[in-house]
């Protein structure tokens, strides 16, 4: 993806609630992002292991179905794929001091779709 920085990158969207996943996915697709959906952390990791075009991770925190929550996924991704910027989204309030990996961003839920898109664009520009 770094070969063609003008293109909107692929966003890996991790959210266990189908309705919220659909809505966030629509919002990002409308803004021109390519969205890959995953309903929990383990599925997200599988996506990252199988494709190399993911340019950004956006994850929910509380996802009982996978083997880890969104914070753990964010830290793991920051560690294994340091080039991928990480955005954590949650209604759980402010993250604790060791929840987020360095450089990751946090957006509280619910968020305004426009704010999400703006944050993602700025985030991608900085990471590129």
């Amino acid at each position: 993806m770094t070969d063609t920085p003008s293109e909107q990158p692929v966003v890996l969207l991790v959210e266990d609630d189908g309705l919220l996943l659909m809505e966030a996915s629509d919002t990002l697709a409308d803004a021109g992002f390519t969205v890959v959906e995953a309903t929990h952390a383990d599925k997200a990791l599988k996506v990252l292991e199988n494709r190399d075009d993911v340019g950004l991770l956006m994850t929910d925190v509380d996802m009982p179905q996978g083997s880890m929550d969104g914070f753990a996924l964010a830290r793991l991704v920051a560690d294994r794929w340091p080039a991928i910027p990480v955005l954590v989204v949650s209604g759980m309030g402010t993250p604790g001091p060791h929840d987020m990996p360095d450089g990751a961003r946090f957006i509280p839920k619910p968020y305004e779709p426009k704010t999400l898109v703006r944050t993602l664009r700025a985030f991608v520009r900085r990471a590129a």
Binding site: D17, G18, L19, E23, P64
Partner: protein, 417 residues
Amino acid sequence: MGSVAVYTSTYPETLMVDRHTAALEAENAHLRALLAQAQRRAAADADRFAAENARALAEAASLACLYERGLAEGAARLTRVEDLNTQLRASEELNRRILWTTTDCVKILDLDGRLIAVSENGPSVLGAKDCTALVGQSWIAFWSCEASRARIGEALKAARAGRASRFQAMLEIGSSTRTVTWWDVAVTPVNGDDGQPERILAVSRDISELKQNEARQTLLMQELAHRVKNTLAMVQAVATQTLRNAVSLEAAGEALGARLIALAQAHDVLMQGSWSSTDLRKLVAGAVKLHGDGAPDRFRVQGPDLILGARPGLTLGLMLHELGTNAAKYGALSTPDGHVEIAWNIVRSGSTEHLHFRWEEVGGPLVAAPTRSGFGTRLIERSLSHSFDGIVSLSYPSTGVVLTLEAPLAGVLGEAA
């Protein structure tokens, strides 16, 4: 004296005799005088002795009287002391009983903060073998938590200066299996006769349960805040999705209102499950109530009791609402003869169990697949499969809409309330 008359004839002899007699008489008189003197002296001595005796007797009597009074006073004093001792014993017994009945841990400390005496529960509270193992120990040494030590240090300092204080502190006992307890501690000086602090009294009350309740309350509030945020996020998604797919603002408003009511109803079921689970039968009953027209047999519902998790429950509630709305507008519920069959079952395949859920419309008008996919269709086709991690199929045979859902049971189950 007869012999004297016999010798009168011989003068010289008589003279001699007379002289001799006179001498004897003089001697006699002298002796008599001496005797009388001795007798007088003896009488005087006797008088003196008698007087002295009388005086001594009087003194003795007065002394005896004094002793007697002293004895009486002593006896009275003894009675008073005995009374006081009885009162003191009663007071000690009362104190002992008070100490026995209280669950507080009561400690008497010297001014250096060393334990002098501890109530019976002291050893178990402070993790010691018995009371003797505690006596002489520094009280503050039992508190390992830094904040607690600071508070106790301040309280002892204040007590030495004559001031009482009260605070809460955490106590950790045991090295391998750590027991944490919370205490409301009152520390006060005990003054001596000179009005200066002589010892220190410390009374600790166990408030661990109170602290646990406080912690539970905080956790519940956080959990509630989290769930409210999630619900608002869902409402936001429903609103945005409704607007995305709306043909007109009016239609959007109407659809949104109905969807929020469906969501509220699913929340009612969720509330009954303490916000953590939803009873599938109640969820279906809610949808039946919303979309049935009161006519019997509009819905035929069949399935075992099943408790779903919160998220799958809410999503399924929304899905039932979309299906119901569609059925009432265009499907089986739009004609008097139509009805909906709702059935679910648990099917075991290999080592995993699956939930099979089916919605089938019967007896309605001829059905054609919709030309555009609205919110309901998208919710079912996209969102439902995600939420349930399963396979969803929505088909439009001409006899009526059929929805089937197959999902691993582990992913949809909630904790029974």
